[in-house]
């Protein structure tokens, strides 16, 4: 049992470290370190431009998507080398948040289903950040029932004509391309009538409306499709096989296990060390210590769980569904941590402005963002189902719509 790299891993790490040390935009390091829970604000700089510049620089040196094949812009790194890269990139990885969906989900799907010519054309600029991609899966009527989607694609000559609406599409407002799952046959059970495409987000008939969220930000969008035409050559996988194509996309996400999951704990520990309560520093209060200790072991438990997963990766094993626990544990923890940090501030905890609130309102921002963490990319409840069914082997939920043609599934509960 050890934390050591193999000689090859150590060699790769040394290369990565040296390159990052010489090239990373260090002027933003301090601000990036402080940024929490997806909120990266750089003073006097456009985050999008900084992010694209960093990604381009990495791409020119072959570090942008290290685990991709060379011909598509990568360097053919192994899964464990990808993890090492992420560890070494550290806080600078926060800059690349806007590329995660494209590189983590859309790229691998293109790699599995696009033609060779398409791959050579679309993948390198995706890897280098020149072109941003989004994933058009969720719909208003879908929620966790992803396969219940209603956006239609109808064949017309060599094209498909798309009508419908997607929602919760991260980054659609600055994306160049997207992968899109549609219903091509409503007369068969829901999983069997889906087909996947990719499209140019500037296509005629695509309308993008940012959604104002509970925390006041607008990171997600609604995307409307009105008679949007997609050539059949941009279909990914067979007609009616869209569900399996989308599973490829989702499975690939499990490979990104190296990145740190935000729990809010380091921030809370630091806060409690400096905050003065009536009787002295908060961290000397017995009740505070008990709370901190309980969150400390959750944070360290996640950290060492990821080390166990990395060890398995280093042995050449593939990550499994057990990696669902990261977001499940961290998601509710960050919400509880934020609530507790506000409580420690007493009546003043209600203030959220950077001038008035403790630590510039970091915990207030965390509080207002954290509900989304427990929903996006799989709700807590879906993650528990995944653990129960795929790790513990319990029976699947009863699905009354399983064998029912999609157009005969009821759409209203109390109609």
């Amino acid at each position: 049992m050890n934390f050591d790299d193999t000689p090859q891993e150590a060699e790769f790490r040394a290369q990565a470290r040296a390159w990052i040390d010489a090239n990373a935009p260090k002027q933003y390091e301090e601000e990036l370190r402080k940024a929490s829970l997806g909120r990266v604000v750089l003073k006097g700089a456009n985050i999008l431009e900084v992010a694209k510049a960093w990604q381009k620089k990495k791409a020119d040196a072959g570090w942008a998507v290290p685990h991709w094949p060379k011909e598509y812009g990568g360097r053919g790194a192994s899964p464990i080398e990808r993890v090492i890269w992420q560890q070494e990139e550290g806080v600078f990885g926060k800059l690349t948040a806007m590329f995660i969906i494209g590189q983590g989900m859309c790229g691998p799907t293109m790699m599995a289903y696009a033609s060779e010519e398409q791959k050579r054309h679309y993948l390198p600029p995706l890897g280098s950040g020149e072109k941003v991609w989004c994933q058009l899966f969720s719909e208003p009527a879908g929620g966790s029932d992803v396969a219940g989607l209603r956006t239609r694609a109808e064949k017309d000559g060599n094209d498909w004509v798309i009508n419908g609406q997607k929602i919760w599409t991260s980054g659609a407002h600055y994306s160049d391309y997207g992968i899109l799952i549609t219903r091509t046959d409503p007369t068969v059970p829901k999983h069997k009538g889906l087909t996947m495409f990719f499209l140019d987000m500037k296509s005629k008939g695509v309308e993008i409306k940012p959604i104002k969220q509970a925390n006041g930000n607008s990171d997600f969008n609604e995307v409307y499709f009105t008679d949007v035409r997609i050539p059949d050559s941009q279909r990914l996988g067979n007609i009616g096989d869209g569900w399996n194509v989308s599973l490829t996309t989702l499975m690939n996400e499990r490979m990104s296990i190296g990145a740190n999951v935000a729990t809010g704990f380091p921030e809370l520990f630091e806060f409690c060390s400096s905050l003065m309560l009536d009787g002295g520093p908060a961290i000397e209060d017995r009740a505070v210590r008990s709370k901190l200790a309980n969150w400390a072991v959750r944070a360290s438990g996640l950290r060492y769980t990821s080390f166990r997963a990395i060890s398995a990766l280093s042995r050449g094993e593939r990550p499994g569904p057990e990696n669902s626990i990261g977001k499940l544990v961290a998601g509710s923890m960050i919400q509880d941590v934020a609530m507790y940090a506000l409580d420690l501030q007493g009546a003043g905890g209600v203030l959220s402005g950077p001038e008035d609130a403790e630590v510039a309102g970091k915990f207030q921002a965390m509080l207002l963002r954290s509900p989304a963490t427990r929903v996006e990319g799989g709700t807590d409840e879906i993650l528990r189902n995944i653990i129960a069914e795929r790790v513990l082997g319990l029976p699947g939920d009863i699905r009354v719509d399983k064998d029912v043609p999609f157009n005969q599934i009821p759409t209203r509960g109390r109609a």
Binding site: N2, F269, R298, F307
Partner: protein, 375 residues
């Protein structure tokens, strides 16, 4: 990175699991629980023959000298099987104290007997309600003899010798405390078994009336030795807890697959699934914290005290959570004497208190994290 046990260690785990499945079925645990014996002598002998008692004791003292990672592996299996034997008091506490602070003569005398199963040892620290602290030690030493009472002492009435924390000064500080080794069969000590929440493991009161005591380790350094022993035992007991948590989770899972209600297995209901998923989460977090503890223990790393506290807290939570929810998944059957759920429930709560309360370890963890951050 290879943050996992080796293939040899995994083989040892399989070997220990097979051995315990045969020699330590629930029936054997119940025999002790129901008072038919004070511990399972056959199992104890078997553990000695397998070399498990001396797995972390060097060969020169009769052990196999394999190491502490191997001991962690065995601890987990003993926890799964709820082994009704004085393993933790003898091996994690007494043997570790001897290895850390014993004189050559003491090691020569006791460690081979521990390895061979001839001697049972224990640590006598607590004096009634409360957490470990120098001020709570009232039992006093004078002219090489001890006077006072210790309770609860795990396996106190079946132990051959005890490591005893005694007061050698009156400042109320750590320097007042020294450790002594007492041969419990030599007179001057009376032992009384006490009722406790887990009768498959014995707790006793030891009354010392002028009992002859030989120093263990340097005078006035008892507390710092104790702290190190407690940290090491915390990691090892945490592995027992993880073993117990995993078994309770398995029992709940198996029952949820078997038991039909409303026309389908109860494990297909989301409410039951989510109970089991949460049990898995707590057991997994605990296991990962324990692995870190095992690494720190086996390398004697500077991080050991922090890692031990984290493993201890996490594993206590996991075992209590899994044992409690296993009963819930079983419904009314879970509360019957006949089902084994209560055996795990009892053990989880007994182990939770075996080295002081959760709040004590929470305090320790935060202290250690602060020290690290300050450094």
């Amino acid at each position: 990175m290879n943050f996992d046990f080796s293939d040899d260690q995994k083989q040892l785990r399989d070997q220990a699991r097979r051995f315990l499945a045969e020699k330590c079925p629930p029936k054997a645990v119940r025999a002790v629980l129901e008072g038919k014996a004070d511990y399972d002598r056959d199992l104890w002998k078997g553990l000695a023959e397998m070399g498990f008692l001396g797995v972390a004791i060097p060969e020169e003292y009769g052990g196999t000298g394999a190491g502490h990672l191997e001991l962690c592996v065995i601890a987990e299996e003993l926890g799964r099987a709820l082994a009704p034997v004085p393993f933790s008091s003898t091996v994690y506490l007494a043997a570790e104290a001897l290895l850390l602070a014993g004189s050559e003569e003491q090691k020569q005398k006791w460690l081979p007997k521990i390895s061979s199963g001839e001697a049972i040892g224990t640590l006598a620290l607590f004096e009634g309600t409360g957490n470990p602290s120098p001020a709570a030690v009232k039992l006093a030493v004078s002219n090489g003899t001890l006077t006072g009472t210790k309770k609860p002492v795990a396996d106190g009435a079946i132990a051959d010798f005890a490591i005893v924390a005694a007061r050698s000064g009156n400042s109320g500080r750590e320097a007042d405390i020294s450790l002594f080794l007492v041969d419990l069969k030599a007179g001057g000590v009376t032992a009384k078994p006490l009722q406790n929440v887990d009768p498959s493991r014995q707790q006793a009161e030891l009354t010392f009336a002028g009992a002859k005591a030989e120093p263990l380790g340097a005078a006035n350094e008892g507390w710092s030795i104790l702290s190190r022993v407690m940290d090491r035992a915390a990691v090892l007991i945490a592995f027992e807890q993880v073993g117990g948590a995993d078994r309770a989770l398995e029992m709940g899972r198996d029952y949820a697959l078997d038991r039909i209600a409303f026309g389908r297995p109860i494990g297909s209901f989301q409410a039951v699934k989510h109970i089991l998923a949460d049990m898995y989460v707590s057991a997994t977090l605990a296991r990962s914290n324990c692995y870190y503890g095992a690494w720190a223990l086996s390398t004697d790393a500077g991080e050991l005290s922090e890692a031990a506290a984290a493993a201890r807290i996490s594993a206590t939570q996991a075992f209590q959570h899994c044992a409690k929810q296993n009963i819930q998944v079983h419904g009314g059957m879970g509360f019957t004497w006949e089902f084994d759920c209560h055996l795990y429930y009892r053990r989880s709560n007994a182990l939770a208190l075996s080295l002081g309360s959760q709040s004590y370890w929470e305090d320790q963890l935060i202290d250690r994290m602060r020290k690290k951050n300050a450094a």
